[in-house]
């Protein structure tokens, strides 16, 4: 049995599988729980609001009905008094008596009674409080007149502060006590109840009564005549509002704060178990919300009792009573108001939430514990598998993995075991193969090193940072610094070159590193340089830039070098290679060759000039000696003429040699007939050479005119023709052709001579190059001819195959047609003064 490996215990900062499992379980449990709780609280609060609002509304309506019945009862009780025939009879008589009096009499009588009443005159007081009517009133008030089931409750009796009757002028007729005022005609209630004789119930809003010294409501009823035609008086009842309503309202309590109260349309409290009667609701903005004429409930911003918390308030108008308040529904109404403190109202849901939170915490704890156990059960075999996998990775697993969970993990363990067996089998053969391949690679590296060391030119490998990574044996021998193993040396540090060269090499290295080519341009420059070096007479183009060639001088040796780029393998960085070739010996040989060639040319030239001048010079010497001994004047003259002739010939030779350059500046070009000059050149040659076995074919385009110096043009042709005739050794066929092609004329001279060997073809225009024998030619003929033709804007090309003759092709620009003849003749006359050319 294996044990979990030590590194497993410390799984650094990663979240282990066990932690993840536990957290997942908690998240799965807790998140829906929180969401559910929140939603439940929200929905619960809403429903509590609605349910309580509806309940409060129903309670308000019910309370309103109760108040209505209470008031109705009291109104009915009062109206029974008002309907008493005795009282009606008495008041009818008083009315008639008043009607019978004159205004003065009436005023006096009323005044007298009033004064008596206010002065508490016993007679006057007795007339009001002790009359038959007063006794009747007392009987009604005490319940003696009521039927058995209609006794006035004690509370109503004690709440009644005043009860009295007035006549049609509002004057006191009868009263229970001495408190009531005598004249009431100007009061609101009297006018409201008497109502111009029509009569109506009038219930006054709550107000403070000075005589009763308390907050009261009043009920005023008209006393109608016996046929209910018109009012003959008013019975007025002053009731202590609190005493009257409290027994009905105060007992309606629910919870600690829930209660009902009665307010009027101005928000003045008529009765409330908490607020005193007569005060207004604390929040005036609440009044319109709770005093509509329809019952309902509202979620108000305050509770009307001084609290500013949101409150659920049920309300309802007191329906029948409101019709009579201040005479009409439009003048005022009474309303019930049901309220409970929101703290108390929402306490159940808060308690529920608290309990749910507590139980949730317990659940979370349980989930965490059970989750830990469950996760542990899952994770332990996984960890054992992980440990086994590590052992397999290190090749240290000795026993098969033994996991018996009976699930996918056991299957996985079995798979691991099978995989382990297969791996062991596979690895057995693989180790030998790896050893063999390693040996092969090592021998390959060794042989590569040997090959590179065997290469006779230095090879250096450089990385991207110019650090030398490899240098072969020749390189190590050649360069001053040999990098030791492990230390890197910069490429330019091992190359002993000057600063300019270093900079040049560095620039090239960067270009190579960036994948640009550096060799080609330099090669081209190189080739041009070599070409120029072959012509010793060509004007010097200055010293060539040493660094433009891929050559470098290291010590006494000179090297050509070449960069090459090696792509890195296996994402390794690219490397740059530098191959050197020692060209010290090559350059020396080349220089020697050029030197030899130049010396050869000069020798030929000297020999040619010497030979040409020697013959006439010896002639002159011979003739001079002869003259010394000659007596005959005739002969002397003859010898002198010969001397002059020889002198002229020497002069001509020298002129020929020097004239190549000297005459060029002084000439004036003129239109020249090409064919005519060609014919003259032939004529000159045929006159001085043996051409008996030569056939000349002429194919001319016509009278072609070119702008040239006639003498020079003729000389050029003479040189070319002489070469051709000399090549044919005086026999064969010579074909002359002129062809007009657009703006130029092409003159072709074809001979049937032996042709020019290939190795000479490139040199034939070089000065002093000649294949002729000593004294036959100066080697300047073709050079002079080419210079002349080129001067006139044309060109000479020689085509030849050994054994098949030679073609000389001359191209010259033609003059446009119809040139002015005057000018032409003038130019021609000038040119004639020039010395005649002669063939060399």
């Amino acid at each position: 049995m294996m044990t979990p490996a030590a590194p497993l215990a410390c799984t650094d900062s990663r979240w282990g599988l066990q932690l993840k499992l536990i957290l997942s379980m908690l998240m799965v449990g807790v998140v829906p729980l929180m969401v559910g709780l929140g939603l439940a609280f929200w929905q619960g609060s809403r429903e509590i609001q609605t349910v309580n609002g509806e309940s409060f509304k129903a309670l308000a309506e019910e309370s309103a009905r109760k108040i209505d019945l209470l008031v109705s009862d009291e109104v009915a009780r009062t109206s029974r008094i008002a309907a008493d025939p005795l009282i009606i009879h008495e008041l009818e008589q008083r009315r008639d008596a008043l009607l019978d009096m004159t205004d003065d009499e009436r005023r006096r009588t009323v005044e007298q009674r009033k004064e008596g009443w206010e002065a508490k005159d016993p007679v006057a007081v007795q007339a009001i409080t002790g009359s038959t009517m007063a006794v009747l009133l007392q009987e009604y008030f005490s319940g003696a007149k009521s039927e058995a089931d209609q006794l006035i409750p004690q509370v109503v009796r004690s709440a009644t502060k005043m009860l009295y009757v007035t006549d049609i002028e509002g004057n006191l007729v009868t009263a229970l006590t001495t408190i009531p005022p005598f004249a009431n005609k100007d009061t609101v209630w009297w006018n409201g109840a008497f109502h111009h004789g029509v009569g109506q119930l009038f219930i006054e809003d709550v107000h403070f009564d000075e005589r009763a010294q308390t907050y009261v409501i009043t009920i005023s009823l008209p006393i109608m005549d016996r046929i209910r035609y018109g009012a003959i008086g008013v019975i007025h009842r002053v009731i202590d509002a609190k005493d009257f309503f409290s027994p009905s309202i105060a007992p309606i309590r629910f919870g600690k704060t829930g209660h009902v109260m009665l307010i009027d349309h101005r928000g003045i409290v008529i009765s409330c178990p908490i607020l005193p009667t007569g005060v207004s609701l604390s929040d005036l903005q609440l009044i319109p919300l709770v005093t509509p004429l329809q019952p309902g409930w509202v979620s108000a911003p305050s509770d009307g009792h001084g609290g500013q918390s949101r409150s659920i308030i049920g309300y309802a108008p007191v329906p029948e009573t409101s019709r009579a308040t201040n005479g009409d529904l439009r003048n005022g109404s009474w309303h019930t108001f049901v309220w409970q403190a929101s703290d108390e109202l929402f306490a159940p849901i808060r308690h529920l939430l608290t309990w749910m939170a507590v139980f949730s915490l317990v659940s979370v704890g349980l989930m965490a514990s059970l989750g830990y156990l469950a996760a542990n059960r899952i994770v332990t075999p996984v960890r054992r598998l992980q440990a086994a996998a590590q052992l397999i990775g290190r090749g240290e697993l000795l026993e098969p993995i033994d996991i018996r969970t009976g699930d996918e993990i056991q299957d996985l363990a079995d798979e691991f075991n099978r995989m382990h067996r297969q791996l062991e089998a596979a690895f057995a053969g693989l180790t030998d193969q790896v050893a063999m391949k390693t040996q092969q690679v090592e021998s390959l590296i060794h042989s590569t090193d040997q090959i590179l060391d065997a290469v006779p030119t230095p090879i250096i490998m450089v990385n991207q940072d110019e650090q030398v990574q490899y240098i072969n044996r020749v390189g190590r021998d050649c360069f001053q610094e040999i990098p030791k193993a492990g230390s890197s040396v910069a490429l330019l540090d091992i190359l002993p070159v000057d600063a300019a060269m270093r900079e040049h090499l560095r620039t090239e290295f960067r270009r190579v590193r960036n994948g640009e080519a550096v060799g080609i341009a330099a090669e081209r420059e190189d080739a041009a340089l070599v070409n120029r070096a072959r012509d010793p007479l060509a004007p010097s183009m200055g010293t060539p830039e040493p660094h433009s060639r891929q050559e470098v001088q290291i010590g006494l040796r000179r090297y050509r070098y070449e960069w090459f780029h090696m792509a890195g393998r296996n994402q390794g960085e690219d490397r740059i290679g530098l191959v050197f070739r020692d060209t010290t010996d090559d350059s020396r040989l080349q220089d020697q060759l050029i030197q030899a060639e130049k010396s050869g040319s000069l020798g030929t030239l000297t020999a040619g000039i010497g030979h040409e001048l020697n013959n006439p010079l010896f002639g002159i010497l011979g003739l001079g000696e002869a003259i010394e001994d000659e007596a005959s004047l005739e002969r002397v003259r003859s010898y002198a003429r010969d001397i002059v002739q020889h002198g002229r010939r020497m002069a001509a030779i020298i002129r020929d040699f020097t004239g190549v350059t000297t005459r060029e500046t002084s000439d004036q070009r003129q239109p020249v007939h090409l064919e005519r000059e060609l014919d003259q050149a032939i004529a000159t040659l045929t006159g001085s050479m043996d051409v008996s076995r030569l056939t000349i074919e002429k194919t001319y385009a016509g009278d072609t005119t070119v702008l040239a110096l006639p003498d020079q043009l003729r000389q050029a042709f003479t040189n070319l023709l002489m070469n051709a005739i000399q090549a044919m050794k005086g026999r064969g066929s010579l074909r002359l052709t002129t062809v007009l092609t657009g703006t130029s004329v092409v003159t072709t001279i074809v001979d049937s001579g032996p042709g020019i060997p290939k190795q000479h073809l490139s040199k034939i225009f070089e000065p002093f190059f000649t294949t002729k024998g000593q004294g036959d030619g100066s080697g300047l003929g073709l050079t002079v001819a080419r210079r002349i033709i080129k001067k006139f804007g044309g060109d000479i090309r020689i085509e030849s195959q050994e054994g098949n003759g030679t073609s000389c092709i001359v191209t010259l620009p033609v003059i446009p047609l119809s040139p002015p003849p005057q000018e032409a003749s003038c130019t021609e006359s000038i040119s004639r003064s020039a010395p005649q050319p002669s063939a060399s």
């Binding site: 109206s79 009315r95 029509v198 109608m224 046929i227 035609y229 018109g230 329906p319």
Partner: protein
């Protein structure tokens, strides 16, 4: 709308009453032969107008709008934004007529009133209601006095013409009789006209 109508109604009464009650009426009594209308006839005229008004209100307004579901009639019509009951219509109109100062009074009375103020006020009214129950065809008239004042009174039967009437009286918690049927004589319309 009906307020305007009632005003017109009241004005009509005023003209009629003024015409009948003016000094010229007295002089007509004193001078036999000059034209005059018997007070019974005046009451009959008034009753015709009152009855017609209420019938129009009951059938064309209350019943029609209730059937069409536009609105309902309710005792607490002010609070419930509804139509007033036909009986309330008559009572309010009567109150308005009384407040006009013309002297004319008319009101609904019954032997089983919901509110005590609508109970019969005099012996004439009580006996008239009892007699009308048995014989609704003929109004009961009589001269009544209040102190020294004399009045002519005519009591016409008030018949339950609409289901609304009997439904309300049979279900109202203050009602003392709950077995009314259609076309029952539920009470009477008492018209009182002063005689001096």
């Amino acid at each position: 709308m009906h307020r305007i109508y009632l005003s017109v109604c009241a004005a009509t009464f005023s003209v009629i009453i003024a015409g009948w009650w003016s000094p010229s009426a007295f002089s007509a009594k004193e001078r036999p032969g000059s034209p005059g209308i018997p007070v019974e006839k005046v009451a009959a005229y008034l009753y015709a107008v009152i009855k017609a008004d209420r019938t129009v209100y009951t059938t064309e307004i209350v019943n029609r709008l209730q059937e069409k579901g536009v609105t309902t009639a309710s005792e607490h019509w002010e609070q419930e934004n509804a139509l007033m009951l036909p009986a309330q219509f008559l009572q309010h109109a009567g109150k308005l007529a009384a407040e006009s100062g013309s002297g004319i009074r008319y009101r609904l009375i019954g032997l089983w009133p919901i509110y005590r103020r609508n109970a019969p006020a005099s012996d004439l009214e009580r006996s008239a209601l009892e007699s009308l129950r048995k014989n609704p065809g003929q109004p009961i008239t009589g001269i009544v006095t209040s102190g020294r004042k004399q009045f002519f009174q005519a009591i016409y039967p008030d018949i339950a013409v609409s289901p609304a009437c009997i439904n309300c009286h049979n279900s109202h918690q203050l009602s003392t009789k709950r077995d009314f049927t259609l076309n029952d004589v539920m009470g009477g319309i008492a018209i009182t006209i002063p005689l001096e």
